[in-house]
């Protein structure tokens, strides 16, 4: 294991024992993800992509195989240790944003720091949360509650929350699933910018359009990787936004 890969999966298996039938959700996935990589995991429902995602996110443990995250073998850790790994090394972005209601954007972003191994002083917490919101361009909305923010803005808050502990890995599960086309492109723009800054991003999606903003695409079928290739004709979010606006303007003119 001399490589400095952020994620290294070796023959990962996951079997669910549900009643009489064993469900073999992931059947031998081996994968290496280098720092700064931006990967889309695709696949139809039942392909095992959610299960793989949960294991990469340290929310679930593989039945067999080995998972090295940032040099730590996490496949053998217990619940509490996994919680700590998630806190320190992984930032989550969900389809449904999953912000705490009636809680300001800033407090939402501060939340992961409450669970840090080393106690972060509350002033430092606020400062880091503010920096995080600045990265996603929402610093001026820090005091707004989620219900005062649009879907795109809520997702940006969620991204800020994922970034606040400076994770090794940003894990996004259908981050654009609840957003319209334009907002989706804006969010992909945020991801592309983060990726350019060297943050490793793994994103699960079933939309090919969205996957084209990433650098590499993995397709799962029946718990196995069937495609693992760089994205050709990669889209640039900024250019796409410009195109979209022109198209909208054209519609209005007509």
């Amino acid at each position: 294991m001399s490589s400095n890969a952020v994620i290294q999966l070796v023959d990962l298996h996951k079997v669910y024992h549900t009643g009489e039938v064993d469900v073999h959700a992931v059947r031998g996935v081996s994968l290496e993800i280098q720092p700064g990589q931006f990967i889309a995991i695709m696949g139809s429902s039942g392909s095992g992509k959610s299960t793989l995602m949960n294991m990469i996110g340290c929310l679930d443990r593989p039945t067999s195989g080995e998972y090295q995250l940032d040099g730590v073998n996490v496949s053998a850790l217990d619940r509490d240790a996994l919680a700590e790994i998630r806190n320190a090394k992984i930032g989550f972005v969900f389809q449904g944003f999953n912000l705490l209601s009636r809680t300001s954007a800033l407090e939402n972003v501060e939340m992961p720091m409450l669970y840090n191994h080393r106690r972060v002083h509350s002033e430092e917490q606020r400062e880091r949360a503010r920096q995080s919101l600045e990265i996603v361009g929402l610093a001026e909305r820090a005091d707004h509650h989620p219900n005062q923010l649009s879907g795109g803005q809520q997702q940006r808050v969620a991204i800020a929350r994922a970034l606040v502990n400076r994770p090794s890995l940003l894990l996004a599960d259908e981050p654009t699933g609840n957003l319209d086309t334009q907002t989706s492109i804006e969010i992909m723009g945020v991801f592309q910018k983060l990726s350019d800054q060297g943050i490793t991003i793994v994103m699960v999606t079933h939309e090919l359009d969205i996957a084209r903003y990433t650098k590499r695409m993995i397709v799962l079928r029946d718990g196995k990787i069937v495609t693992n290739e760089p994205v050709r004709d990669r889209l640039n979010a900024e250019q796409e936004l410009v195109k979209l606006r022109q198209a909208q303007a054209a519609v209005k003119l007509a």
Binding site: V6, P35, N54, G57, L59, D60, D70, G71, V72, L77, R79, D80, A81, A83, E84, I85, R86, N87, A88, K89, F92, F94, N98, L100, S101, R102, T103, E107, M111, P112, L114, Y115, N116, H117, R119, I135, R161, L163, N165, R166, P167, S168, L169, L194, Q197, G198, I199, T200
Partner: protein, 417 residues
């Protein structure tokens, strides 16, 4: 962004539960739902308020009784003359004419006895200043004010010389002064009892009404010898008042007096009885204490109901916030963190409720005490008990919901709709 590796740790070790962070999270959660938090606390507020209020009032009443008994003297024994049987007819308490002044003198020689006063009582019409008044004329010894813990306000008590010489002197209570000597200093004046002039040598400090509602100041004290030989003619006393060294030796002194009098009287059955104030006090305070326990029992039930209310709301809250629990777990909260968070929420609810209840209970008892003119005792011990109990209720009622929350699987919790 900084490089991830620099921030990440190589190994994962033990870490203490983040209590302060958990308290902050819990307080935030409670603030988000103010109305519900208040309603949840109501059960504890009422329970603790009821405990503190009822205990303050009953301990106030108990203290009132104890003060009165203490004013009678705590280490006092009274020897009553007993039953007199004549031809098979039993006369009941006080019918025997067996106690004498000599008995009193014999008792005064016992160890541990510090004061003795033989007592002779009679209601008499007394005259002074052209006014008259029917009052209790008591023949007593010089020790009487000491035994009854009763000071002489002006003048002085008569002494042994007056007792020996059957002197015509008297010490009067405030009621008698009010009735016979309005706006006058009675000391040095003369009061007539059965047409005999008695010189007033002292006035007793007002003592007020006793437990049974009679006016203790409506009294004239004369030497018991004068009473027995001049006012009435008799050679027995109604009772003998005895003060023991302290209330620890009361039982011993009681036994000694019984033995002494049995020997002196050589009577076939015990013709006297010895009572002490401690017994009286115990009887009176026992009833108010029983009342207190009854009220505390009712209050305990309402506290239990309040606890169930908290548990109920916490269970609803855990279900409602399943997703929140999932998010927290995803960003690194351990099971223990979630457990502590919900436990602290429950404890915070019950302790704040308890604090409000204490204030409400004290306020309530002060108002009642003021309206009813009763003494009010704020029971510090019960306040401590109330705080500890409400914290305990919080832990007990919050534990199951918190444990349920901590056992959630983060994946399921995140998917929960």
């Amino acid at each position: 962004m900084a490089t991830p590796l620099a921030h990440a740790r190589g190994s994962v070790g033990f870490q203490p539960v983040r209590i302060i962070a958990s308290i902050r999270i819990a307080l935030r959660a409670l603030r988000r739902n103010k109305m519900r938090s208040l309603l949840t606390m109501l059960g504890i507020i009422i329970g603790v308020g009821a405990v503190i209020g009822s205990v303050s009032l009953t301990s106030g009443a108990t203290k009132e009784v104890e003060d009165q008994v203490a004013s009678l003297g705590e280490s006092i024994l009274i020897v009553f003359s007993g039953n007199y049987t004549s031809g098979g007819v039993r006369g009941g308490w006080g019918s025997a004419v067996t106690l004498t002044a000599d008995d009193a003198r014999a008792i005064s020689r016992l160890p541990d006895v510090v004061a003795v006063s033989p007592e002779v009582r009679d209601r008499e019409q007394v005259f002074a200043n052209g006014l008259n008044w029917n009052t209790e004329v008591m023949g007593e010894g010089p020790d009487y004010p000491q035994i009854r813990n009763w000071q002489v306000a002006s003048g002085s008590m008569f002494g042994d010389a007056e007792v020996r010489s059957l002197a015509k002197v008297a010490v009067v209570g405030q009621t008698v002064v009010d009735e016979l000597f309005p706006n006058e200093d009675p000391v040095g004046q003369t009061i007539r009892i059965r047409n005999l002039p008695f010189k007033i040598v002292g006035v007793l400090v007002p003592k007020g009404f006793n437990l049974f509602g009679s006016d203790q100041d409506d009294i004239v004290l004369v030497p018991y010898t004068s009473h027995m030989h001049r006012i009435t003619t008799r050679n027995f006393v109604n009772d003998i008042q005895v003060e023991a060294e302290n209330n620890q030796v009361i039982d011993k002194v009681q036994n000694e007096i019984t033995d002494l009098l049995l020997t002196r009287h050589r009577s076939p059955e015990q013709d006297f009885t010895v009572r002490n104030q401690l017994e009286l006090m115990q009887i009176v305070t026992a009833s108010s204490r029983a009342m207190g326990f009854l009220l505390a029992g009712v209050a305990a039930v309402s506290l239990a109901v309040g606890g169930i209310g908290i548990m109920n709301i916490m269970l609803v809250s855990v279900t409602e916030r399943t997703r929140e629990i999932g998010i927290r777990m995803a960003v690194g909260a351990r099971a223990a963190d979630i457990l502590i968070q919900f436990l602290i929420e429950a404890v915070t609810l019950s302790v704040i409720g308890g604090a409000i209840g204490i204030v409400a209970g004290i306020t309530f008892s002060l108002i009642v005490a003021y309206v009813k003119h009763m003494p009010d005792v704020t029971p510090i011990v019960w306040i401590v008990i109330a705080v500890v109990t409400s914290g305990f209720i919080g832990v007990v009622s919050g534990f199951y919901p918190a444990w349920k929350a901590s056992k959630l699987d983060p994946i399921d919790a995140l998917r929960y709709e």
